[in-house]
Symmetry: C3
Subunit: 410 residues, 3 copies
C-alpha cells in the first residue's frame, strides 16, 4: 500500500480519536445537567477521573486483553502482555493499512472509559465515590476489553458461522455500559424521594443548558466514534457512515418527540435529548450497512423506545437519574438486533447471531457487575448515608459546592 | 484525478462537515445565553429540533431542490426527485473531485438548518412553539434550498453576465436567516416591557458564559463553514480562507468594541461577541478573494455596523433579543457588497451583481416568510398569551424549568 | 516532495490550528469557572478580546519577529518586516513540506494569545481592564514572539552546542505566560479577603461545570497544540505525540488526586483539573521524545507538583485565583527540565541547556512584565478601587451582570 493513503488514513483516525475523546466531556455535561446542583461536583469528578483511568488501564492491560493476537487467540480470554510494546514496523502500513500502532491504541483507548461513564449517570446522586471508582477500574480495565475481544479481537462472536456484527459498538460498548448501569442502579436502590407512597416523583435536572451541550458534544464525537470505526479514510464508507449516523440521530429526536408528546402531551426536551442519543446508539451497530431510509427508521424507533423504556424502568422502581439504561442498554440492544432486520446483512441467521451476541455480553456484564457491586455492597457499602444524600454528595464527599455564589432552593 | 487527492479532499470535507454541525450547538448556546432564564428550555428545544429537522428535510427534498442538475436546471426552481438516490460512481472522483455523493449531501445538509436557527434568536421569548416549528419546516425544507439553487445550484444568479458571487453564504445562508428573522420579529412585535413610555429597556441575557461558549463554537465551526466551501483540501485556498476568516472575526471584535465604547462608554461583551459574528458573516461571501488587510477592514466595518444596527432596529421597535438581524442580515448584506468593493473581483459590474443578489434573495425571503408568519398570525396565532410570556415559555410550553435548583429573581 | 503528502500535511496542520483555536474557549471557561460570579463578564471579556488581539498583532508584527529569517537572523532579536507578505511559492512545498505560508502563519498565530490568557487567570478579580489590555498588547505582540524566535526562529537557544529543546512550548509558550502571571499577581497583591489575620481563605470558583468544560476543551485542543507541533502529518510521530500527551494528562489527574488527598484528605476537583493541565504542560516540551511510561511519570509528577505549588504560592501570599502560575510556570519548568532527564535526548549537557533556556526566558519575561506592570502601577494604576473589587468588576468595569436572573449570595 502506498504511503500517501496510509498517511491519509492515519490522519482521519487521529481526528476520529480526538472526537471520541471529547465525548467524555459530553457525558460529563449531560450527566451534570440532568442531576441536581448538590451532586454536581461529584458527577463531574467521576466523569473527569474515569477517562484518565481508562487511558492508563487501557495502556497497562486493556489493549492487550482486547487484542491478544495469537496468544490464546479467539475464544473467551487472552492476554498478550502488559504495557505497550512496539511491534516491528509499528509506524508503517506493515502494521495496518489504516493507522500506526499508537493510533490504533489511542483510538481504542478513548472508547474504553465509555463503559464506566455510562454507569456513572445511572448510579448518580447516591453512590459512594470510592466503590464507584473501584468498579470503574475493574469494569473499564478488565471487563470491557474482554467483551471487546469476543468480537473485535477475533473472539468467539467473530467466529460464529454467521459472525455477530457490531460495527462500532451498540453492544460491545454501549450495552456493556448499560448492563453495568442496570445492575448498579438496581442494587443501590432509588434516590430518596423518587418513589413514595403517592407514586413516582420526577427529580428534574438542575442545568438543562449543560445537558444540551452534552448531547451535542456526544453527537459531534459520534462522527469519530462511528466514522473512525471504518478504520480507514475510505471515502465511500466513511461518508455513508456520516449520513446514517446523522440521520439516525435526527430521527431519534423525532421518535422521542412524537412518543413523549403522545404519552405526556408535552414537549419534553430531556426526552428529545435522550432520543437523539438512542438514535445514535441504535445506528452504531450497523452504521456502515444501512441505507438512508433504514437509518431513519432505526433512529425513529430508537428514539421512541427510549420514552417507553424510561417509563418501564420507573415502573420497576429502577431509578436512573439520566436515562442511561434506556439510552445505552435498550438502544444498544435495538441497534444490534436491527442489523439482522435491516441493511445488507439482514437475514434470519444474522438475527440469531445478533441475539447470541446480545445475550452473551449481557450475561457476562450482568454477572461481573453484580459480583463487583454486590461484593462491595455487602462489605464496604456502596451507598452514602441518608443524611449525606439529602445534603448532597458535593459536601459529603468533596466538601465543596459547584455554584457557591448562587442561592439555591434546597 | 488520483485516488490520494480525492481521499484527502474528502477527509477535509468530512472534517468541515463536523465543524459546521457543531455550529448548531453554538447557536443554541448563544441564543440561550442572551435570553432570559424563564425561556431557556424553549430556546434550547427549538435549537435542538431544528438541526434534526434540517437533516431530515434536506435528505427528503432540500438537496434535490438545491442541486436539481439538468432537471429544470438554472432559472428559479428545479427538483430532481425526492430522497437520496445514489448516482453511479458516487464514491469516486467521477462524482466530484472533492467529495463523494454522501459527503456532498451531508456537508450541505449541515448548512440547511442555519436559516431557521438564526430566526429562532430574533423571535425568542414570545413565539408559539408549534407555529415556529412549522415555519422552520417550510423555510429550511423549501425556501432555503430554492435560494441556494439560484447561485450554488447553477441558477439565475450564477448565470448573470457578471455572476453574483457568494463564496460560503453571506447572502445565501446568513441573509436568508436574517430576512426571516426581521419578518418574524416585526410581525410578533416586541417583548412585553421592552419598549415602554419611558423608552427602551435593555433585557439582559441570563447566562453570559453560555453566550461566550456559543460565539467561540460558532467561530470554531466557521473554519469548516468557510474552509469547507473551498470544496476541496486545496492547500493554498483553504489556508487563505482560514486566515481571512480568523482576521475578519478578530477585527469584528475590535470594530464592535470601538463603536460600542464610543457610543455607550462601556465595554459591552455582548456587542463584542456579536461583532465577532458580524466579522465572520461579513467575510463569508468573499473569504477566498480577499487579502489579509482587506479581511481586516471588512471585519472591522462589520463589527462596527452591528452596533449601529442594534440601535437602529431598537429605534424601529423591532425587538431582536439576540441581535440576529444585525449580525446575519446587516452583516450578510455588507459582506456580499464587499465582494464588489474589495478583493480580486472588485468592480462596478460585480457590485451591481452583488446588489442584484442581495435584492433578489431579500424579496423572495421577505415575501415567503411574510406569507408564512402572517398566514399563521391571522389563523392559529404566533404569539403566546401575555400571561404565558410573563411566566416564561418554559412553563407554558414545556412545563419544565431549566434551572429548578436555583433561586431566581423573577 | 509530492503534492499528495504536502496536501495531507497541510490538512493536518489546519485541523491542528482549529484545535488550538478552541483552547481559547477552554481558557475562558476555566478561568470563568474558577473565579466569582461577580467578575464573570470581566474575565470573559478579556479572554474574548485577547485571542482577537493576538491574531491581529501576530499578523502585523509578531510573525515577523518570531521568524525573521535571514534578517538579523539568530541571536536575540530580528524583524523581517511588518504585515504578511507572501513569499514566492507560498502555497507549495517549496515554502515548507508541511504547510503553506498561510497555514504556517495561522497555526503560529493561534499560539500567540496564550501568553496573555494564562496571565489573565492569575490577575483576575482585581486588575483594571485597560492596563491589562495594554499589557496583553505588548506581551503578546512583542515579548512572546521575541522569546519564540530564540528557539523556533533559529535564535541563540537553538544554536547552543547542545540545542535547547522545547517541542511545543513548555517554556516558549506556557512559562512565558506563567512568568507574566507571577509578576502580575505579585504586583497586584492578593484579592481582598484572601489572606487575613486568621490565615488563608479559599475563595471558591463560582461555576465548576464551566471549569470542567474548560479543562476538557484545553485537553482537546492540546492534540492540535502538540500534534501540530510535529509540523507535518507524519504518522509515527504524530500518533506517538497523541499517546504521550493523553497519558501525561491522565497521569496528571492522578498525580494531583493522590497529592491532594494525602495533603487535604479530600477529593478536590479543582486540583484534579489543574493536575491534568500540569500533566499536559509537562509533556509539551518533550512529547515527541518520550516513551509511554516516561510520559506517565512526567504527568504524574507534574500533577503532584501543582498541588504543592498552589500551597507554596499561597504561603508567599501570591494570590492566583485559578492556579495558573502553578500549572503553566511550575509545570512548564518541570516539563522543560524533564527533557534532560527522560527520553531520547536525556543527558547532562541537555539538562544544562534546558536550564539555560528556562533561565533565559525567565529573566526576559520577568524583566519585561515587571517593566510593563510596574510602570503602569506607578502611573495609571493597575488595580481597581476597593469598592469596585468588593462590588465586582462586572458592575464597575462593564455595568452588566453575567447572571442577572439569578439570586446570588453576595
Amino acid at each position: 500500500m502506498n504511503q500517501e493513503i496510509f498517511t491519509i488514513n492515519n490522519v482521519w483516525m487521529m481526528v476520529a480519536t480526538i472526537l471520541v475523546f471529547i465525548m467524555h466531556l459530553g457525558f460529563a455535561a449531560l450527566e451534570c445537567g440532568l442531576t441536581r446542583a448538590k451532586n454536581t461536583i461529584n458527577i463531574l469528578f467521576k466523569n473527569t477521573i474515569i477517562p484518565a483511568l481508562g487511558l492508563l488501564t487501557y495502556a497497562f492491560i486493556g489493549f492487550n486483553l482486547m487484542y491478544p493476537g495469537d496468544v490464546f487467540s479467539g475464544g473467551f480470554l487472552g492476554l498478550s502482555g502488559l504495557g505497550l510494546s512496539l511491534p516491528e514496523g509499528w509506524d508503517t502500513s506493515a502494521y495496518s493499512e489504516g493507522y500506526t500502532f499508537f493510533t490504533d491504541f489511542i483510538f481504542q483507548a478513548m472508547f474504553a472509559a465509555t463503559a464506566a461513564t455510562i454507569v456513572s449517570g445511572a448510579v448518580a446522586e447516591r453512590i459512594k465515590l470510592g466503590p464507584f471508582l473501584f468498579f470503574s477500574l475493574i469494569y473499564v480495565g478488565i471487563c470491557y476489553p474482554i467483551v471487546g475481544m469476543w468480537k473485535w479481537g477475533g473472539g468467539f462472536l467473530d467466529t460464529l458461522s454467521t459472525p455477530f456484527y457490531d460495527f462500532a459498538g451498540s453492544t460491545i460498548v454501549h450495552s456493556v455500559g448499560g448492563w453495568g448501569a442496570l445492575v448498579g442502579a438496581y442494587l443501590l436502590g432509588p434516590r430518596i424521594g423518587k418513589f413514595t407512597e403517592r407514586g413516582m416523583n420526577a427529580i428534574p435536572g438542575h442545568n438543562i443548558p449543560m445537558a444540551v451541550i452534552g448531547v451535542f458534544l456526544l453527537w459531534f464525537g459520534w462522527f469519530g466514534f462511528n466514522g473512525g470505526s471504518v478504520l480507514s479514510a475510505d471515502p465511500g464508507t466513511v461518508s455513508l457512515v456520516f449520513v446514517t449516523t446523522s440521520i439516525a440521530g435526527a430521527a431519534g429526536a423525532f421518535g422521542a418527540l412524537i412518543a413523549s408528546y403522545l404519552k405526556f402531551k408535552s414537549y419534553d426536551i430531556t426526552m428529545v435529548l435522550n432520543g437523539i442519543l438512542a438514535g445514535l446508539v441504535g445506528i452504531t451497530a450497523g452504521a456502515d450497512q444501512m441505507a438512508v431510509w433504514e437509518s431513519a427508521v432505526i433512529g425513529l424507533i430508537g428514539g421512541a423506545l427510549v420514552v417507553f423504556a424510561v417509563v418501564f424502568f420507573d415502573r420497576l422502581k429502577v431509578d436512573d437519574p439520566v436515562g442511561a439504561i434506556s439510552v445505552h442498554l435498550v438502544g444498544g440492544i435495538w441497534g444490534t438486533l436491527a442489523v439482522g432486520i435491516f441493511g445488507d446483512l439482514a437475514s434470519f441467521s444474522q438475527f440469531i447471531s445478533q441475539l447470541i451476541g446480545v445475550a452473551a455480553v449481557g450475561v457476562f456484564c450482568l454477572v461481573s457487575s453484580w459480583i463487583l457491586f454486590y461484593g462491595m455492597k455487602k462489605t464496604v457499602g456502596i451507598r452514602v448515608h441518608e443524611q449525606e444524600e439529602v445534603e448532597g454528595l458535593d459536601i459529603s464527599e468533596h466538601s465543596m459546592r459547584a455554584y457557591p455564589d448562587f442561592a439555591t432552593k434546597e
